[in-house]
């Protein structure tokens, strides 16, 4: 094969790859990450775009240079381009290319740090936030509304325009709570209560899924976040309170068994269920938790070893 032809092919593959990437990542709503509906997702998208632009500003010239050099200095009889086999040092050039990446990293680093700190705060401060406690189970998602007193499985209603404080834990192997259109994910870990701020600005039903592998049922570990305006949200709460059954301790134990299920709603749940779960899975040792409890003593359970062995029995049961 001639070298020219080969070169053309290199170019073609490169161009197709770039074009495909650009075209595909279009504005179609299928691209959830690129079509955020809340301030958190938007901030993250901004950073994604900034990083893409910055890095492409370096990468694309590099590739252009590559193609030019290979074409110009190919080993072909009669090539008139200069040949200097000992030209191997140039201070100015080297300073330039130590310098360019440093500048880019400095810019991107600053933006990253800013966004990182911004995302641990509520996206909006003058609206009273809603708190939703999330427990990932094998293989379903339990949402508890401490202020409303209701609970749901595999779907989560939230009011639009209100920052939502998700408190995350797991009562199964570690998972990750991800609603791409609202914003990035965070792990749900047994024995820990993590915080994730999200907010929906537009009503709609948004896809959510466990993002960290949890075993056999992982592919079906899906849930939905339903954003509605505030009055509809309140109506929904009232509706659940009137029509749904209660989640009992026994019901929770049942729920915890590994299984795949559809959605469910509960008009109430055992008080302190979230905290109990965190404590039972080792929460007493987590540094953040100690602040909460004077003297570091746990609020609930998990002091005597009998409950520990019962947990082991439960786990053994779960795996069988």
């Amino acid at each position: 094969m001639g070298q020219r032809e080969m070169r053309r092919r290199v170019t073609r593959v490169g161009v197709i790859a770039v074009a495909a990437a650009l075209l595909l990542s279009g504005c179609s709503p299928q691209y959830m990450v690129l079509n955020p509906v809340g301030p958190v997702g938007k901030k993250e998208l901004d950073l994604i775009l900034l990083s893409t632009v910055l890095i492409m500003m370096v990468i694309l010239p590099v590739l252009a240079l590559l193609f030019y050099i290979v074409w110009r200095y190919r080993d072909k009889p009669g090539n008139k381009a200069p040949y200097q086999p000992r030209w191997s040092e140039n201070k100015v050039l080297e300073v330039i290319w130590w310098g360019i990446p440093i500048v880019v990293v400095a810019i991107l680093g600053t933006a990253t740090v800013k966004t990182t700190y911004a995302l641990v705060k509520p996206p909006e401060t003058n609206v009273k936030p809603l708190t939703v406690e999330v427990v990932s189970l094998d293989w379903k998602w339990l949402f508890l509304y401490p202020d409303q007193g209701v609970a749901t499985v595999n779907y989560c209603e939230i009011p639009t325009g209100v920052p939502v404080q998700f408190e995350l834990t797991s009562d199964a192997p570690m998972n990750s709570f991800w609603v791409p259109q609202l914003g990035g994910q965070e792990y749900t870990m047994p024995g820990m209560a993590m915080r994730l701020w999200l907010q929906a600005d537009k009503p709609g039903t948004y896809y959510g899924h466990g993002a960290n592998f949890t075993g056999e049922g992982f592919a079906h570990d899906e849930f939905r976040v339903v954003a509605v305006d505030e009055t509809k949200f309140n109506d929904w709460v009232t509706h659940v309170k009137q029509t749904a059954p209660a989640l009992t301790k026994a019901g929770y134990a049942q729920l915890k068994r590994p299984s795949i299920m559809g959605t469910a709603s509960y008009k109430s749940f055992p008080p302190g269920l979230f905290n109990d779960t965190v404590w039972a899975d080792g929460g007493q040792y987590m540094p953040g938790m100690l602040n909460d409890v004077p003297g570091g003593a746990p609020k609930h359970g998990m002091q005597d070893t009998s409950s520990m062995s019962s947990r082991m029995a439960q786990e053994a049961h779960m795996s069988s």
């Binding site: 080969m6 790859a17 990450v33 690129l34 290319w97 991800w178 870990m189």
Partner: protein, 656 residues
């Protein structure tokens, strides 16, 4: 009796599992029978033992690593094709969840630990002693041990599929999913034990090559005259030394949890599963630099050779290697930005991660400017190198995008990540290993690999690569998670997945061309009569191909960086030919069967640990102890090759 056999078959041989397992069983038995038959028919047992199993010669050990790496590439590749077949269509049921989980786990583990690692060790062994003008590595016996530990570790991992069940919790194997409470099978034990065994061997290799490079260079070869590939191996070995202990500790602690009921990572009795994740990535991130740095070394050699030009900015190249070595060890937390360690932690590790891009970028520019004002020959090694620059620029770009912590909250565990790391691992490491293989193949075997078939392989593999992995970036933006064995149709992930699968098959085709190329070239490949088939620059090209077992009849005195090329320029190549009167008897290490035996003992002990068959474990460990003691009492492990013999041999090669 019959009942007992049936029960054994059900529990360990998994006869109930169905055709996939039966087919594998049959395949394995046939392979073993075939190997035994061929060896017996050609009366090759003694040859196998004397020439290969007991060898301590770095060149042969290198070749054995290479063969294993290619075989494992095939195994991992078949896993990949199985996965891609399952994912081609939504709601597909070609594989069930259980098998899919096992397959992505073995795919990832094998590709990184049993394909990429032996591949880099193959190149370490083949090239380093020759490049620096040494007769062997610093510790040839240890080198053999390292190989056999890797070999038996890999064997143990591979038999899991047909004997007891494969691990199925991902190559990262996070607890508590991998704790006994959730995962009772022996599969996870296989993962832990086999990685531990090969991990010990890897540390041996790291020690060996640091010692070799720092202490065994030919006289006159100062560090700043050393070829860049050897520098890269030094960098990679330093990383091995600093981080492999972390992997071994993580694995050992999880094993202790599983076998002895401890609570490091359980969620009862105060265990903290996050610590495993932390320790795993203390190793896991630098691990990717362990492999890619070696590839960088290959590219540096190839670019200079095939541009017929000195490497540009040698000192910067060395500095950037060392910078990546150090800074690369400080970035591990970027694999769990989403754990919520807080903005301070995330900010620090985000910036340190991006900082690795700085020295890497310097290398990119230096490669480019090595070609500038050179004369570029598009041979196979050079083609793979050029393809690398394109591919890795994007891999690095997406890496830097991932490093922006808040953006990573959106990419993490999605197909965007899968695409990033394949681009880095394939575009960075696999391309580099193939470039290195093509480059040094004539040195190893005395003939060149066929260019025409090689070009087919190259274009197919490259085309396949982009068709396979570019759509995966898009899938990431569409919210598709990794490690899903199936997905519904509603999200529109189907078409892109289908394209991706097609790409994977094209890559498979490319791989088949490589196989064909090797087979074809064994018969018809261009023979290398000069020993310098590429017009090379460094010392290894001053030797005949294949290299005599003592490497250098007379150790050269090095005066220049690209010594061989320099002498060629000045018409002084004769100086690197041995003169009869300079030839002295040479000390060479003796062959030994003990490293192989040690490997067997580790294997036996390993099997004991996997199934908690304690007697077997103790027996194996006693064997290990016995081998070590025997070694300690060995006083004479070298022999002299008489000067006369060397003279005769060199004369035969036409060098005297």
């Amino acid at each position: 009796m019959w009942e007992a056999i049936r029960q054994f078959g059900d529990t360990y041989l998994m006869w109930k599992e169905g055709p996939l397992i039966w087919a594998s069983d049959v395949l394995i038995l046939l392979t073993i029978a075939g190997i035994v038959a061929v060896l017996t028919y050609f009366k090759k047992w003694k040859w196998l033992w004397d020439e290969w199993l007991t060898t301590v010669d770095h060149k042969k050990i290198g070749i054995m690593y290479l063969i294993c790496a290619l075989l494992m590439f095939f195994r991992g590749g078949v896993d990949a094709l199985l996965m891609r077949t399952q994912l081609a269509l939504p709601n597909n049921h070609f594989l069930d969840a259980e098998h899919y989980d096992q397959i992505f786990t073995t795919h990832g583990t094998i590709m990184i630990l049993f394909m990429a690692m032996p591949f880099i060790f193959a190149l370490f062994n083949i090239a380093v002693p020759l490049q620096i003008g040494a007769r062997d590595v610093a510790f040839p016996y240890l080198n053999a041990i390292s190989f056999w530990l890797f070999f038996f570790g890999a064997l143990l991992f591979n038999i899991s599929f047909v004997f007891g069940g494969s691990p199925d919790a991902g190559w990262t194997s996070y607890p508590p999913l991998t704790e006994l409470g959730f995962d009772k099978g022996p599969g996870e034990n296989y993962y832990l034990v086999s990685l531990l065994i090969s991990g010990i061997g890897t540390i041996g290799t790291g020690i060996n090559f640091i010692a070799t490079i720092l202490k065994m260079r030919a006289p006159g070869m100062t560090m700043m005259k050393m070829p860049l590939f050897s520098w890269a191996v030094l960098a990679s070995s330093i990383v091995i030394l600093t981080v492999f202990p972390a992997l071994n500790v993580a694995l050992a602690l999880l094993l202790i949890d599983r076998l002895f009921g401890a609570h490091f990572f359980t969620i009862q009795a105060g265990g903290n599963p996050m610590m495993f994740i932390n320790l795993f990535w203390v190793w896991g991130h630098p691990e990717v630099y362990i492999v890619v740095l070696v590839a960088f070394g290959v590219y540096s050699e190839v670019v200079a050779t095939f541009s017929r030009k000195e490497i540009f900015g040698y000192k910067s190249m060395v500095a950037s290697l060392m910078a990546i070595t150090i800074v690369g060890d400080l970035t591990w937390v970027h694999h769990f930005f989403t754990m919520g360690a807080g903005p301070d932690v995330n900010s620090f590790f985000a910036v340190s991660t991006m900082a690795v891009g700085i020295p890497t970028g310097v290398k990119m520019f230096n490669w480019l400017f090595t070609m500038y004002r050179g004369r570029i020959r598009l041979t196979l090694p050079m083609l793979w190198t050029l393809a690398f620059i394109v591919c890795f620029a994007f891999a690095g770009a997406t890496g830097v995008m991932l490093a922006a912590a808040p953006a990573d909250y959106q990419y993490h565990n999605s197909y965007f990540l899968v695409a990033h790391f394949h681009q880095a691992l394939i575009g960075g490491v696999v391309f580099g290993m193939l470039a290195g293989m093509y480059y040094w193949w004539p040195k190893m075997f005395g003939f060149k690999l066929d260019e025409r078939l090689g070009r087919w392989a190259f274009w197919l593999f490259n085309l396949g690569f982009y068709v396979c992995f570019v759509p995966q970036y898009a899938l990431g933006f569409m919210g598709m998670q990794r490690r899903m064995y199936t997905y519904p149709a509603v999200f529109g992930w189907g078409p892109l997945n289908f394209i991706s699968t097609v790409g994977a098959y094209i890559m498979g085709l490319g791989f088949l061309f490589i196989v064909a190329q090797v087979l074809y070239s064994i018969k018809y490949g261009e023979r290398d009569v000069t020993g310098d088939i590429w017009d090379g620059r460094t010392l290894e090209w001053s030797l005949p191909s294949p290299v005599p077992h003592y490497n250098f009849a007379v150790i050269p005195y090095v005066t220049h960086r690209d010594m061989w090329w320099e002498l060629k320029e000045q018409g002084r190549t004769q100086e690197l030919r041995p003169r009869p009167e300079d030839i002295r008897p040479i000390h060479m290490p003796n062959n030994s069967g003990r490293p192989f035996l040690l490997g067997v003992c580790f294997f036996v002990a390993g099997l004991g640990f996997v199934f908690a068959w304690w007697l077997l474990a103790v027996l194996g460990l006693l064997g290990v102890g016995a081998c070590l003691l025997a070694r300690s009492f060995e006083t004479h492990d070298e022999h002299d090759v008489p000067a006369e013999e060397i003279r005769r041999y060199e004369a035969q090669l036409g060098r005297l």
